[in-house]
């Protein structure tokens, strides 16, 4: 099995995990607060586009990162306003955000940069190699390490802090939380917007983390795979990360096995087959937060 011992397979696995784990954890935040979020794909695109655009305009990829994440947070805030304040159908709304973001970024790309695409001299975030850990960590984006930190911090935040408990409370039983004096709407806004910023960070990774350019629909459905990873991971940050790792591995394995007599079309199905198997009960029951997707009207 020289395929499995090839360090490149594991390096690819990690590189392909980042743009799934970040939006999957982002979705976890949103849904734990009780708002169904299928808009990760669109928010990633916004993060990816503005990450590259501001990196080029300011000359600093770090500013690009910050502003890309903020723009993703802004779109998430608009989504949250419609979902929470206006009690709109969250699935329809999420789909609208996805289509809107795809059209908007394509329009802005062509208007601001032309059909030649984003300029090749755009600076990108640094690659960091950890000495002593071998070739797997020899050429990884700095955002890989940021993502690993986010997994730990998110877990601690959601399950070991008062604010995290409150966010989970409004996703499970908003009436009880409201009766206890919590501001349900504000907590839900926090969940959706933080989640949006994490999704946008996933987009930033794609555009200036491992590349330095943006292209129309470059997220290529990763926001939806992240959705599956979130469910597979039972709405927890660590679970989302492990599920993303599995999908990342499946993608990398599909690439590695190509040219060994198996059709590339079949191999590209591996992550999706895994998704179906996972959701068909291989991981046991996956129960969403009880009030997930149900708008709440405060009792006052």
């Amino acid at each position: 099995m020289s395929v499995l011992t090839n360090p490149q397979l594991w390096a690819s696995t990690l590189a392909m995990t980042v743009p799934l784990a970040l939006p999957a954890i982002g979705g976890t935040f949103s849904e734990r607060a009780g708002v169904v979020n299928i808009a990760m794909e669109g928010i990633m695109l916004i993060g990816a586009f503005f990450g590259v655009a501001f990196s080029y305009w300011t000359g600093s990829p770090w500013l690009g990162l910050v502003l890309g994440v903020l723009m993703g947070g802004l779109l998430a805030a608009i989504f949250a306003w419609a979902a929470i304040r206006l009690a709109a159908d969250q699935v329809v709304l999420g789909m609208a955000v996805n289509i809107f973001a795809s059209g908007l970024t394509a329009f802005l790309l062509n208007t601001l940069f032309g059909y030649g695409g984003t300029p090749p001299e755009t600076p990108s975030l640094p690659f960091v190699s950890l000495p002593g850990l071998g070739p797997v960590f020899a050429h990884q984006s700095v955002l890989l390490y940021v993502m690993l930190a986010i997994v730990v911090i998110s877990h601690w935040f959601l399950f070991h802090t008062r604010l995290g408990l409150r966010i989970r409370a409004v996703g499970e039983n908003p009436l009880a939380a409201d009766t206890a004096g919590l501001n349900v709407w504000r907590l839900r806004y926090i969940g959706v917007i933080v989640g949006g910023m994490l999704s946008a960070l996933g987009g930033v990774y794609l555009s200036i983390g491992i590349l330095n350019s943006f292209d129309v629909d470059m997220t290529n459905g990763r926001g939806f795979i992240a959705l599956a990873a979130m469910i597979f991971g039972k709405w927890t940050p660590v679970g989302s990360f492990l599920a993303s790792l599995l999908f990342g591995f499946a993608t990398a394995l599909g690439v590695a096995l190509q040219g060994q007599g198996v059709s590339p079309d079949l191999l590209s199905m591996i992550p999706y087959v895994l998704t179906i198997l996972a959701l068909a009960g291989l991981v046991g029951r996956s129960t969403p937060p009880a009030a997930d997707g149900i708008p709440y009207t405060p009792i006052r």
Binding site: I99, F127, L211, D215, D265
Partner: protein, 350 residues
Amino acid sequence: MRHRATVAAAAILLLGLVAGCGRAVNQAQNATGNAAGAAPKVNFKVGLVTDSGGLNDHGFNHLSDVGLKKAEAELGVQGSVVESKSESDYVPNLQRFAQQGYNLVIAVGFLMDEAVKQVAPQYPNTKFLIIDDPITGINNVTSAMFKTEQCGYLVGAMAGLMEKRTGIPGMNAQNVLGVVGGQKIPPVDSYIAGFIQGVKKTDPDGKVIVKYVNSFTDQAGGSQVAQTEIAGGADIVFQVAGGSGIGVINAAKSAGVYAIGVDADQNYVAPNTVIVSALKGVDTATYDVIRDTLNNQFKSGVQYFDLANNGVGISKPIGVVPSDIVNQVNDLANQIKSGAITVSDQMPQS
């Protein structure tokens, strides 16, 4: 109150949708209005329908648009472009132009084969051009086919010669080359088939790793596939992957190895990395067909564009390619033109 606000929110999102999706670019006014010394306007309308790759594919959709722009500036025709968002847009987009009485409708890409066969017979007064797909037997359809296996052969021969040479900076000791395809479809595989035959000619022991991204718009995926090949020893990577290919070039650049561009001269993406590009003259073909149709010289059936009529070719290699290698490749080009070498567009059985 809440109801009204919901309606308002829906309206805002809808507006966004219209602005985002309705990316029909009417370039007639722009191009003919701005270009200094433009040809006088003629009453001849050309509609261009891109495939789902869109105008920013850095490849053949883009090149077709370049050809149309040139025709607007030099021949005075009125052009209009619509980008297809998905495969289901092809028929309505083609019909839209035909219904409006356009003289010529250009369908860019192999993927539009069925759509053209369906629409063209309904509009006998409109002429159709399809790129990359051979359609025969319909009077108002002409097909432009490119023998990209020939330019693929030339860049493959060049890459093989580079592999065998020692002392070129950035090249490793392993005799391995990489190819990254977009999808396994004929217009991609003809390039790759040519590349493999070219390598075989100049570097018979060379190993060619071929992998596909399975997407033309996934730069991150392209980058990963390229990194896998580079880790396998490839130090020249040929990309035939549309938008995903930008990720391939990026990966080659960051690993300090070389890349070969496709369709258009892609040296601008990474000037010290892209040593040469295999060119497909979609711009020239588009322009020529517009000109011929305008002059009532429209020919139905299949027209072939190859090295001999400059329909395909290679760009000028950068300085890192030794000049004697460039000369050998030019010599091979002449042999293909004269028919001394024939290149197959079929992938060798492995």
